[in-house]
């Protein structure tokens, strides 16, 4: 019989009195991705799920907080039977030259102590599997034996995505553009436990339905990790038109971004979210200079998280590939940032100047209209 052993971040075990809360949330999140048909047992810093398939393991592996998943074989608390399984597991592995056995004796009535179990199982493996050596310091593989209600044996540990349980840190609003950076930024914050609500700015008829579909697809890819994502589609045409008609050309982008942030903050208020998340990377484009970031932030009460601010495109792309958003992000549909790009945007905007330029706009009305016509889409993990 098999089961799945789930190891989770040591950070969770260090949460003192709140440890229960984090563990329970992790269980809830795992259940959300694998369904309710399984028994999940918590025990001394790990969890056991009463089934194992590769598909199931991949889902659990992608749950934030999980650092490793292994297929554990269960047998009676009998040294010969344990040895048999350990030998069989070692025979299946390729390119392994050294190993060690690590044992844990939860059931203190078991006659052998941990070290004795390890020594004996190790000897059995050495006798029965050719070409192996023991290396207790730097082994290729660790054979784990745990004696509890039954004996559990596992070798290969699949790496989990780590982080903190999704939703454990509160809620944030992600400005999702359709590019490479913003999904990565969302992923990184979700990994720290922040629940994501997305906002996408749609400028119909200047952007196509396909650009919106692309963003929905990106949200769906994030939902592989988060379970689901709520996406606000903000009608942005009126705001953009007003800015383009009434403001200076070289200030279009910066003013537009100030509006995006303020719309996102309204969404955050509605959602009881306490932060905004953007995919800005310092100096990447004109609107991502330090001055621009200061100017886009100035009207906001809540913090703006920019998890990729210190990363370059290569580093961001690497994560995008890992979380499978890259191929979608590079589809060539225009988003609202790529239309009406001024020829020479201001790279060092001054707050007082921008504020003065903005006076011609009826901000309350524009933002209220945008909020009133918001489309809300609930996107589930369709994996």
């Amino acid at each position: 019989m098999n089961c799945m052993l789930v190891k989770y971040a040591s950070e969770i075990s260090l949460k003192g009195l709140n440890k229960r809360y984090f563990e329970d949330l992790l269980v809830t999140n795992i259940r959300k991705t694998i369904g309710n048909g399984y028994r999940i047992q918590k025990e001394s810093g790990r969890m056991y799920i009463d089934a194992y398939t590769d598909e199931l393991a991949d889902k659990v592996r992608k749950t934030f907080g999980v650092i490793g998943v292994a297929k554990a074989e269960i047998t009676e608390k009998d040294m010969d039977k344990i040895g048999e399984i350990a030998i069989a597991q070692m025979r299946q592995l390729k390119n392994v030259r050294t190993f060690k056995v690590e044992s844990k004796r939860g059931d203190k009535s078991f006659p052998l102590q941990s070290l004795e179990i390890s020594r004996e199982i190790g000897a059995m493996i050495l006798r029965n599997v050719e070409g192996l050596d023991v290396d207790v310091h730097n082994p290729d593989i660790v054979v784990n034996v745990e004696i509890r209600d039954k004996a559990y044996i596992y070798t290969k540990l699949l790496k989990g995505v780590a982080g903190m349980p999704y939703g454990s840190a509160g809620k944030g609003v992600l400005l999702l553009s359709g590019g490479i950076d913003s999904p990565v930024a969302g992923y990184m914050m979700a990994k720290r436990g922040l629940e994501l609500v997305g906002v996408y700015y749609h400028s119909h008829p200047y952007t196509s339905e396909r650009a919106k579909e692309k963003v929905i697809e990106l949200a769906r890819k994030l939902a592989v990790y988060t379970g689901s994502v709520k996406l606000y589609v903000a009608p942005f045409t009126e705001i953009q038109m007003e800015i383009i008609e009434k403001c200076k050309e070289n200030e279009l982008t910066i003013i537009m971004r100030r509006y995006m942030m303020q719309v996102a903050e309204q969404v955050a208020k509605k959602e009881n979210a306490l932060a905004l998340i953007t995919g800005e990377s310092l100096g990447q484009v004109a609107s991502q200079t330090l001055e621009s970031m200061m100017v886009t932030n100035s009207e906001l009460e809540i913090p703006v998280f920019r998890p990729v601010v210190g990363m370059d495109k290569t580093e961001i792309t690497e994560i995008a590939r890992e979380i499978d958003t890259f191929e979608t992000s590079i589809l060539p549909y225009e988003d609202c940032c790529t239309i009406f790009v001024p020829k020479h945007p201001k790279t060092r905007p001054r707050l007082d100047e921008i504020k003065k330029s903005e006076e011609v706009l009826d901000k309350e009305k524009l933002i209220a209209n945008c909020m009133a016509n918001m489309e809300i889409i609930k996107i589930n993990n369709m994996q």
Partner: protein, 381 residues
């Protein structure tokens, strides 16, 4: 207004009769036409009947019709099935991607290709054609009607020029956009191969045909069970083929009346456009031009933006051709070949009509354009 579909050159809405036929074949004639049993024989009869209908319509023999998966496959088959390395092929600069992209790839692989220029009306230069024909010229492939602006090529003249100047060169005509709009009589046309497609004439998608003049032998692109006279193996798409047959049958009913009606729609549309300023009709408006396609540039408005704005009124059109809708994937090459500037080409909208459209729909579209234009032209930055 429910839905105004003015994108009939991209594809058409199938006839009710076609839908019924396709469903009927799926349900009742599911047997393999090659099977020896009675069910197989019944399916084969269906296949034969569709082939005969199409042959009769274009005045060919049934055995000269090879069913394919559509226009693109028919075009690929005509080119790849005929030529060998070292051969010279002549085509135009405004062909469909299924010809032009294929030939561009083949050029890298010891084939020689000449791309004929077109004039501002999108018609090939016949003098240039004449001088391009060489000793090793094996194929001249031209489209009968251009899919983006609707210009008609003088195919019969092209065929005579080829016959006068070469004994071995063959002529392939991509008639996908012409089929169902112009009367096609393959004997009068004189071409060696002609491609047609079902979904442009209110038939099902995924089915087309290549007419191959009797006596001309092509190398098969798909090896297998020897269906379609050993030229195109693979179990026949009977529901599609039979639906194609019905669509052709429907086409033959009131053919001239339908064409006349579409001409009136176009005239009405052109009249309506006169109410707007700063508009350029990119299609030639004369007998060198098909009636169901009208390509128009609205100055100061990007075609893509116009397209999305029209969507708000449930009016569906194309920018350039449907295949170039994916930006970046295929850069539009047809309009620049006619001498349009980048701004004019980017502002181009293709309206394409069918007998299913109405005068009311045209009026409704004009009203929509009237409302949209000033709004979109507000922004000229």
């Amino acid at each position: 207004m429910n839905l105004v579909y003015l994108d009939n050159s991209a594809t058409t809405k199938p006839h009710k009769e076609v839908i019924v036929e396709v469903a009927d074949c799926l349900e009742h004639f599911f047997a393999n036409p090659s099977s020896a049993h009675r069910l197989g024989v019944e399916a084969e009869k269906k296949l034969k009947s569709a082939r005969e209908k199409i042959a009769a319509f274009i005045k060919s023999k049934p055995q000269e019709i090879i069913f394919t998966s559509g226009g693109s496959e028919a075009n690929n088959m005509a080119v790849l099935g005929l030529v060998s390395k070292g051969d010279h092929i002549i085509t135009s600069k405004i062909e469909h991607p299924s010809v032009i992209k294929l030939l561009q790839d083949m050029e890298k692989d010891s084939y020689e290709v000449t791309y004929l220029d077109v004039d501002c009306d999108g018609v090939v230069d016949l003098e240039q054609l004449k001088s391009a024909i060489k000793e090793n010229t094996k194929l001249i492939s031209v489209m009968y009607v251009n899919n983006e602006i609707g210009s008609i090529q003088p195919v019969q003249e092209i065929v005579s020029i080829v016959r006068e100047n070469s004994r071995k060169a063959k002529v392939h005509v991509d008639a996908v956009q012409a089929f169902g709009k112009l009367r096609i009589n393959v004997k009068e046309l004189g071409a060696d191969m002609v491609s047609i497609s079902a979904h442009k004439i209110h038939g099902p998608k995924g089915v087309g045909a290549l007419y191959i003049r009797e006596g001309l032998r092509l190398r098969p692109l798909i090896a297998g069970g020897g269906q379609e006279f050993d030229i195109r193996s693979g179990t026949e798409n009977l529901p599609g083929i039979s639906g194609f047959g019905i669509a052709v049958e429907m086409l033959a009913l009131d053919f001239e009346e339908k064409q006349q009606y579409i001409r009136e729609l176009k005239q009405h549309f052109i009249e309506g456009l006169k109410n707007f300023d700063k508009i350029r009709i990119n299609s030639p408006i004369d007998d060198k031009h098909i009636d169901n396609i009208l390509n128009v540039s609205f100055e100061g408005v990007r075609g893509e933006v116009m397209l999305h704005a029209l969507e708000d009124y449930s009016i569906y059109v194309s920018t350039g051709s449907a295949c170039s809708a994916k930006k970046g994937a295929h850069k539009n090459y047809v309009l620049p070949a006619l001498g349009l500037s980048t701004a004019q080409a980017e502002g181009a909208i293709r309206f394409s009509f069918s007998f299913m459209n109405t005068i009311e729909e045209i009026d409704y579209t004009m009203d929509a354009v009237k409302k949209i234009l000033p709004v979109l032209r507000r922004i000229t930055k």
